[in-house]
Symmetry: C2
Subunit: 630 residues, 2 copies
């Protein structure tokens, strides 16, 4: 066994010989970024070796780490194995860190009809001539209030004798779903009732404590999904969990610990008692849902990607070690298939997609983008691998939406002006920034519609690594050492991402039989969407051309959907109805998707007639070639 | 911290200063007998101090331990506190030990209709064009077999993806109560289905593994109830558990460990897989039921002794850490009140008391005797503290039914002949032996009907401690040192015990409004009953005088009742019906009981006309005084 010390925090971890630094970091809960999940191709886990013996540097490291850094002893944490006691420094760039998390989303007004009912009961204590058992006495009292078929939850049942006597036979029964007594509280507590709504995003975790009496949000907070330790993308986490029951348990425990931590914080801030949290409603994409519930996810990672659990479920909080009332209920919304999961249902519910009179496109943009197209007449859905480019991965100067990220770009008369988050000196570009940048470059002619940087245009320069467009000169950056640029490869990444989204939309449109002109409205959900300029997104052809006033950004509606389902049983019923009605299209099985994907690689699209207004604003050379599958 | 070594087993236990030897023994699971639960009045926990320092001998020890033993260093384990490292020898007499346990009982024929349904399903695997979730696919397959509303249990749900694929989509679903899927097994396993029936007696624990297909008993075994470590009587255990949640947990864990141990043994002997045990049905008196389920029992120990849980309950096996299928179900039968618990319901069911055309008396004889009087027209019940005299406690030479216990006594021409268990040399008298002895002594005139030993009668001798009757002269005993006798005090103990039983019966009879002549049949249940001579019991007036051919001994029908409820949902329904219909009489609230108790102190009774046949057989002086309450 050897000791690994991580600087600057000074965390010490003891591991057997041969353990990778990444595994040691996971064990010690040291924050090291990884996107590829330890497959050495993302290059985000670069660490500096201060002293100690590690396995020899690998070919892949020699190829990917700049020679001057190799000389200084830099290694990839996922490659270097411990061979003795070592001291490691984790540079800031290799950390996931804190970032701007959008956890709020638009919530429709609903009538509260929660699953939690509180009934105040006054009972006569037993006497020698009335020795009726405590539970039967309780059921009789509940019966007199119209609750006829409730039964005590096991844990609550074991405490009944003490609870009724402590309360001096004046108590409030907490009844779940009209059928299960999950609490007996002293006195009249009918005014206090709380629940928890959770949105488990691949990247972020949002937790809300909701007042089930007035519907208000008592507490809201978010954190990075701590499962990021097992890989930034879903497939890395599925692969980690697929190694065995223990590993699956690790991944599950990690997210539950994260949720419990936020709940703990909420209780401390609000003075609510843990036992007053009677229910928790969770949503997430199918993989996040399964890893939260603890469902074996091997099959989710393999074609044809069916969900293990498709229906809504109620699970005892104590079975999952969720830190609410241990007799309480964890409700998970239904999943559809592939990545169209409970979060998509939540989005649809919160955005009332199933009530729209006219055809509406709802996209929840993330590493996987869920695309739903429909109205009250029916909903088609698919999931498309838009990739992490919008979150800054695979982008030369990409970064998440954190301080110093370029989030808005305007190019006027070939002069670039950038706005950064928190108005810090620029450190990189986040998703909304790169969308703006590309749209502006198209408009000014620095980029052609096929995605080629136009040589000779002001700002475009040629380097040995290829063409790039300078957004922020180095003297204006935080490091002061390197320009922040959009590279030709970056453009390709964004083209692929937006083509995936638009291809998904068009496939659904064609499946639905509607002409594209039927589309009336676009709703963009997801943490990322809030900061996108809709005009820029339209210019890129991420979304179809509808009037700007019919494009809305609703934020984290997955969280909103979780909250309304927590507050209303009617919403849960609707969730099941939406799930039952939603038609799922597996894009891998649709040749049409490839055709639409290729056409959507052009900006806005090779079918220029679909973007008549946009085309007017683009100065760039219009290089297009329409592809039609046989 | 000091070390206590228990000889001869050599068990070492480390405890803080001031710990009693009894507490150290409990911690080390060393078998030391206690009846009083550490209150120093039973004198069963005598141990020999080999070396080491203990707290000074107490007054109560000086009074109760013979001086020669005090000199040799004998102490009561419940009194002596550790003051240094000590070595203790636990003599055989101070151990609970192994003993004859009657675990079988009469079982009525029933139609099997178990709660466990196995359904063989062949499903189509998902394809890119059929991405229906695994659970919905399963529900559809179940629906095609007529099971429409089943839902996956949480733990089973987390394994569904793996289970269906391992089974290559040909699997057997295990459905509980038509509504919960608790297993998905590879292939067609419809022929294998098992459950566990458990009878938790105050003294003994019986476990049966039952084949739910053919109804056969695959395994049956018993052990002493390991809770005996917390006191032989129920009140001692309730008092121990009442100290706090941890102590209640200790007592619960102890009985569950005992059950799990027997299950383990059964699995090893039968080759059944633990996951094939889908259900467990448990019965016990109210206190045993509550301590098993983990219900706070403080109120059970206090007048008016109401049960905490009166209804039947279904509890997840994993919630109770019962070692059957973790998704399986633990079903506990309903309780009535006081000590009339799930075991009494089980007795009534197994003996079909609720179907009798004529008035029948059913008594389950134990430390507490449950008395039920009734027919298909209704059942009255009560519980009476018959005490542990029939189990050998409070009897000078009393012992449990183990090798060497006198179990049959005949006195002919004033010559005593005794039969011992296993025909060993006599070590003491067990319950059936003492009943026989008193009946024979009455018949031969050595005892009068008021319970006085008749001075001058052959075999009756006067000692400084009082009169006694010699059953086995010392030269015929195993020790060879002391005669085995029935003392005047022993007679009193038996009088009190049988008066309690008969008083209970008469109270019910009077409450029911029936004349005593309506009684048609007597059923004696309980481990102890099997060996009683009904004629002797009748002579003593333990039971009323009905023809001997209408007196039956059914053994452990509590266990039988558990088995039939395991095998049949109809029986569970009947159990609830019986519980709902059974009228409970709390004897503490009935002045009539005291009157009947006093009259029943006479043998057979002060109302001699109630025992016309018996009276004919008694040579003893008929000393009676009828007591009538005002």
């Amino acid at each position: 066994m050897f000791e690994v010390i991580f600087l600057p925090e000074g965390k010490r971890v003891t591991v057997p010989e041969g353990t990778t630094l990444m595994a040691a970091a996971i064990k010690g809960e040291v924050d090291i970024a990884t996107i590829c999940g330890g497959k050495s191709f993302c290059g985000k886990c670069l660490v500096e070796v201060i002293e100690g013996e590690l396995s020899p540097i690998t070919d892949v490291e020699l190829k990917r780490i700049p020679p001057e850094k190799v000389k200084k002893g830099y290694r990839f944490a996922c490659q270097a194995q411990v061979k003795g006691n070592v001291t490691i420094r984790v540079p800031d760039q290799s950390r996931v860190g804190r970032q701007r998390l959008v956890i709020m989303g638009k919530e429709p007004p609903i009538k509260i009809r929660s699953n939690v009912e509180k009934v105040y009961l006054e009972m006569d204590p037993p006497t020698l001539h009335d020795t009726v058992a405590d539970d039967i006495r309780l059921y009789a009292a509940l019966g007199s209030k119209g609750i006829l078929n409730a039964r005590l939850d096991y844990r609550t049942g074991t405490k009944i004798t003490e609870m009724l006597r402590t309360a001096n036979w004046k108590s409030t029964a907490v009844v779940l779903g009209g059928k299960e007594v999950i609490g007996i509280e002293a006195g009249d507590t009918r005014k206090r009732s709380f629940g928890v709504a959770v949105d488990i995003g691949t990247t972020k975790l949002a937790v809300f404590i909701v007042d089930l009496i007035d519907g208000g949000i008592a507490f809201a907070d978010g954190m990075m999904n701590p499962q990021i330790r097992f890989g930034e993308d879903v497939i890395s986490r599925i692969n980690y969990a697929a190694q065995g029951e223990r590993e699956l348990g690790d991944v599950q425990k990690t997210i539950i610990n994260g949720i419990n931590e936020l709940i703990e914080k909420g209780l401390a801030e609000t003075g609510i008692d843990r036992r007053e949290l009677y229910e928790l409603v969770a949503v997430g994409n199918t993989a996040m849902h399964h890893l939260f519930v603890g469902v074996d996810t091997k099959s989710l990672g393999l074609s044809p990607y069916p969900a293990g659990l498709g229906r809504a479920y109620d699970i005892k909080a104590r079975d999952m070690e969720i830190a609410i009332n241990q007799s309480g209920n964890v409700h998970v919304l239904p999943n559809i298939a592939g990545f169209v999961g409970a979060d998509a249902i939540a989005d649809a519910l919160a955005c009332r997609l199933h009530e729209k009179e006219k055809l509406t496109l709802l996209m929840d943009v993330g590493t996987n983008t869920e695309v739903m197209l429909g109205s009250r007449d029916g909903i088609w859905s698919c999931s498309t691998a838009s990739g992490p480019a919008f979150e800054g991965a695979h982008i030369k100067n990409g970064m998440r939406a954190a301080s110093g990220a370029v989030e808005k770009v305007r190019i006027a008369d070939d002069e670039v002006s950038c706005k950064t988050i928190d108005d810090d000196k620029a450190r990189g570009i986040c998703g909304s920034g790169i969308i703006d940048a590309l749209a502006e470059m198209l408009k000014c002619g620095a980029l052609d519609t096929s995605g080629k940087l136009v040589e000779g245009h002001k700002g475009v320069r040629v380097t040995p690594a290829g063409k790039e467009y300078v957004l922020v000169p180095k003297e204006e950056t935080s490091s002061g050492k390197e320009d922040i640029v959009v590279s030709q490869d970056d453009v390709r990444e964004i083209q692929k991402a937006k083509a995936a989204m638009f291809g998904g939309y068009m496939t659904l449109m064609r499946k639905s039989g509607h002409p594209t002109t039927d589309l009336n409205e676009i709703i963009i959900a997801g943490a990322f969407g809030n900061y996108i300029d809709p005009a820029s997104a339209r210019i890129l052809g991420m979304i179809p051309e509808v009037p700007l006033d019919r494009i809305s950004f609703t934020g984290n509606t997955a969280g909103s959907g979780a909250r309304i389902c927590l507050k209303s049983l009617d919403m849960r019923r609707e969730a099941t109805e939406v799930a039952d009605k939603m038609k799922y299209i597996e894009l891998a099985a649709e040749p049409v998707f490839m055709e639409e994907y290729i056409n959507a690689m052009y900006m806005p699209n090779s079918r220029l007639n679909m973007f008549p207004e946009t085309v007017e604003t683009i100065k760039a050379p219009k290089v297009v070639r329409v592809y039609v599958s046989k």
